[in-house]
């Protein structure tokens, strides 16, 4: 970023931080990293007090602020092994989605919507399955972070965190191990002479298997053909379910999926349903890397000028709400390339064509390096 644009952003960031300085819990035990040209230009910084941190932020005005998930005795020592590890928060980073949406290469609001939905699903799973209460934070640019700050997770080692990361993404899931109970479908035995059909998720199941049961029950109850197809059921099976809904539900309750699903297809169907209720794509390294530093919640993101906003329980996410800067002042910019985007209105910037933009939009375009100051 050029000097002129950097100074412009820093002036606005400074005025924001004068009123809204984000401070992490246990500030003195955290390692900090700061960036001006890239997300982390240097790390291994620490601050003994709120005042020290404030002075640094208002003097140096970094565009990116990251802090350690770990708590250290000596946060500024290096290498990491000399810091005196005292535990760490658990964080999940969601920045990529496979969900279908109209994708746009530049500033994709669709991605953010899908990721927000997935993050809420993960938050729910963390609470219901693992018993972790988490805080949802917008990353300030492309995704979301879920922070678990609890004594329950503080002492977890790298291997335990890897297992948790695998659990939430269903990585390495072998359905045969998840559903080891061999059952017997009376109906199937009668119909096709097959015995010992593996039992699927049932009313008595727990955790994710219980949710898989509920997902299938919902699809059968509402005769949701699209969902049933997505789970891998064939046309014959779907028509059987439609004609014998009550019987299918009774069998489902006991885990006898073989009563309404081809036996050779069972594993695939189990897996599809379980993955529907438990598959969140996260950047696993963030979850298990104990020396990771991550964006400080409620700090500003130097590539957007948005706040890495902490979302309250039940709060709806709208990217405009994360815009740190308001105001009608018009700033003139020179676009560096053609770019169209929606952010508090529709914007069409054309390369080298002078454009007067409201300050928050100009700041976004400059931070994204799509525009320069004249």
């Amino acid at each position: 970023m050029n000097e002129k644009e950097l100074k412009f952003l820093q002036a606005h960031f400074r005025s924001h931080y004068q009123k809204h300085l984000p401070v992490p819990p246990d500030l003195a035990s955290r390692e900090f990293g700061f960036g001006w040209q890239k997300k982390i230009d240097y790390r291994h910084q620490s601050f003994a007090s709120h005042k020290e941190f404030q002075d640094f932020m208002l003097t140096e005005v970094p565009l990116y602020v990251s802090y350690s998930l770990a708590y250290y005795q000596f946060p500024d020592k290096r290498p990491v092994s000399a810091k005196g590890f005292q535990g760490a928060d658990l964080v999940f980073d969601l920045d990529q989605t496979n969900a279908e949406h109209d994708h746009s290469a530049f500033f994709c609001r669709g991605c953010l919507e899908c990721l927000h939905r997935e993050a809420l699903g993960l938050k729910d799973m963390l609470s219901k399955d693992l018993g972790f209460e988490s805080t949802l934070v917008f990353s300030g640019q492309k995704g979301f972070h879920l922070h678990v700050r609890s004594e329950k997770v503080r002492d977890l080692g790298k291997e335990a965190r890897k297992q948790i990361a695998d659990y939430v993404s269903a990585e390495g899931l072998d359905m045969r191990k998840l559903l080891p109970v061999a059952g017997e479908s009376i109906e199937l035995k009668f119909r096709e002479g097959i015995r010992n059909v593996p039992k699927g998720p049932q009313a008595q199941s727990r955790g994710c298997t219980k949710r898989a049961y509920e997902a299938m029950r919902k699809a059968i109850e509402s005769e949701d053909e699209k969902a049933l197809k997505a789970y891998g059921l064939g046309r014959k099976n779907i028509s059987y379910i439609k004609q014998n809904k009550q019987r299918a539900l009774e069998n489902l309750e006991k885990g006898n999926w073989g009563a309404f699903c081809d036996s050779e297809n069972l594993d695939r169907v189990f897996a599809n349903v379980v993955k529907t209720v438990r598959f969140v794509q996260t950047d696993k390294a963030v979850t298990f890397d104990l020396s990771r530093i991550i964006r400080l919640p409620d700090s500003l993101h130097g590539s957007t000028g948005f706040t890495a906003k902490t979302l309250k329980e039940g709060e709806k996410f709208k990217v405009e709400d994360a815009m740190a800067f308001k105001g009608e002042e018009i700033i003139e910019v020179i676009p560096r390339e053609d770019v169209d985007f929606t952010l508090n209105g529709e914007w069409r910037l054309r390369k080298a064509k002078f454009e007067g933009l409201p300050m928050p939009i100009a700041l976004f375009a400059i931070a994204q390096e799509k525009a320069l100051l004249p």
Binding site: K152, L156, Q163, Y167, G172, G207
Partner: protein, 277 residues
């Protein structure tokens, strides 16, 4: 009484005699004798000595004997003993409807397959098989967890008896069959592992060992090495790759300088010092 339990501590602090070391070796090599099991004082002493012996062994030998013993203990446990023993490692474990329920944190301390467990509200519900697997890793870890300083020589010698001879060395190999290389191949301590791998790689190359065979030979060597920090098969392979891409001669003096000079050098056909004098 199981020797890894809290109760066993009251039998600790006994005097150890030389024949006890022999008995501890037999304790590791053979199935658990009933008379030992029902003699807590003796059982605890043998268990402690066995831990000391294993602490001097290579990683693969440690694993082999610890797994063997652990399996025996878990296999012989009755249902009641199982729950009691489980509480040594998982204090909050409960039995509910024929299954075991424990907090997630306790499961994660020894469990390795959370993705396959039934997890709800921070609690993991497991079947008997999974509890046995957890118990095996917990007991094994305790068996291998021995911080012993200044291990007596007789225990070191006993540990050496448990190490298997290297299988990968060809009988007609000239350099790999040297006593110093045989010594290295049995696994060396932290600080010598790199030079050990270097010496073995040079010998393997000079003996004309195909690279694939040399890789598996070095992998075996890595498993036998001892140390608190990891020395991986990849690191050893890196050394081997480097050696195999060059023409390096075997050097007796270099091997000695690297800390592998021993009594065996006196009888070595290549002994550089002896031949020089």
């Amino acid at each position: 009484m199981y020797p890894f339990s809290r109760e066993a501590k009251k039998y600790a602090d006994q005097d150890v005699r030389a024949p006890d070391v022999e008995e501890a070796l037999a304790f590791l090599r053979n199935p658990l004798a009933e008379e030992t099991f029902y003699n807590p004082a003796k059982h605890v002493m043998l268990y402690a000595l066995a831990k000391a012996i294993l602490s001097c062994c290579s990683q693969s030998t440690k694993n082999k004997y610890a797994e063997q013993k652990t399996r025996e203990y878990v296999k012989r446990m009755t249902e009641a003993e199982n729950l009691e023993a489980a509480r040594e490692f998982f204090p909050a474990i409960e039995k509910q409807d024929g299954k075991y329920v424990l907090p997630l944190g306790e499961y994660l301390s020894y469990g390795s397959s959370l993705v396959h467990q039934s997890v709800e509200n921070g609690k993991v519900t497991i079947e008997q098989d999974e509890l046995n697997a957890l118990m095996r890793s917990a007991i094994k870890e305790k068996f291998l967890n021995a911080a012993i300083q200044d291990v007596p020589e007789e225990i070191r010698k006993a540990a050496a008896q448990l190490e298997p001879p290297s299988t990968a060395i060809q009988s007609r190999a000239k350099f790999l069959n040297l006593a110093c290389m045989q010594y290295i191949a049995k696994g060396v301590d932290e600080g010598k592992r790199f030079y050990g791998a270097f010496g073995l790689s040079i010998s393997a190359k000079r003996d004309g060992l195909p690279k694939e065979k040399a890789v598996s030979f070095l992998t075996e060597y890595v498993q036998r090495c001892r140390g608190t920090k990891a020395f991986t098969a990849e690191e050893a392979k890196g050394i081997l790759d480097w050696v195999y891409s060059r023409d390096i001669g075997f050097s007796c003096s270099q091997t000695m300088d690297n800390g592998f000079e021993g009594e065996y050098c006196q009888k070595c056909p290549l002994n550089w010092k002896r031949r020089k004098s």
